[in-house]
Chain length 154, copies 2
Amino acid sequence: MLQQEFLKSMRYLAASVSIISAKDSNDKPYAMTASSVTSLTLEPPSILVCVNHDASIHDHLLNDEAKFCVNLLKKNQQDIATLCSIKEKEDQRFEDKNWNLNSVPFLQGSQSNLFCNVKKYLDYETHTIIIGEVYQSHNDDGFDTLMYANGKYL
Amino acid sequence: MLQQEFLKSMRYLAASVSIISAKDSNDKPYAMTASSVTSLTLEPPSILVCVNHDASIHDHLLNDEAKFCVNLLKKNQQDIATLCSIKEKEDQRFEDKNWNLNSVPFLQGSQSNLFCNVKKYLDYETHTIIIGEVYQSHNDDGFDTLMYANGKYL
């Protein structure tokens, strides 16, 4: 009963849709769709993201040298958002021509790309809260952010 | 330059609007508007919220006995959202007749009320990340969540 009500509340909690991207030490790229990206501090510019232990990207974010990108998506990026949330399609995640994989992977044409150094992480039950300090940020002008709530994209 | 771009990214990061409410050990109620509420885990049902050290509610959330409520707002609750974000109007925050102050303070007529026990907190620069385990959740049916992005309510 509590869990059903909690799930309903979480459906009502609208959020932006982002893709988190990073590489492992062998230069292999990873990406996952997340709605748990939150602004944390302005000084220094920092955000946090909650990542499930089971996500393939998870372990590659847990060291002090790790970097990642938060790609805040636009409304026309629903397809890649869905692709990067389906476990069975994991090997197709980087087929999109808009990926730039030269260094820290990022998705061109996004609303914003926030490049982060991992600063701290906190383990909690099934997830890890990862704090990233933003060292570079790029924005496309004009607010057109993809959101998700109540089981669908907004 | 980085900070300006970061601020722009954070304007593009759309989020639901919530009011966090709690009492201190003398039964005095506190409330603050927050857009940093994020779903964390389903088992146990948990959320997190980022609170500035300067917020009057902050210190009253930092003990293992603390409880708080996340009131996820509806679109018709813009006025109380604005009121609970203006420092100078702090003494007016509980004038609204929809507050129930019997136990953990909560705002009736919200989209959702999530009652939480504080489980863990992590200090980071100007803010504390507070993890709450939800022990009770109430929802109003029909998705009508108040959101904020690009400097205005959505």
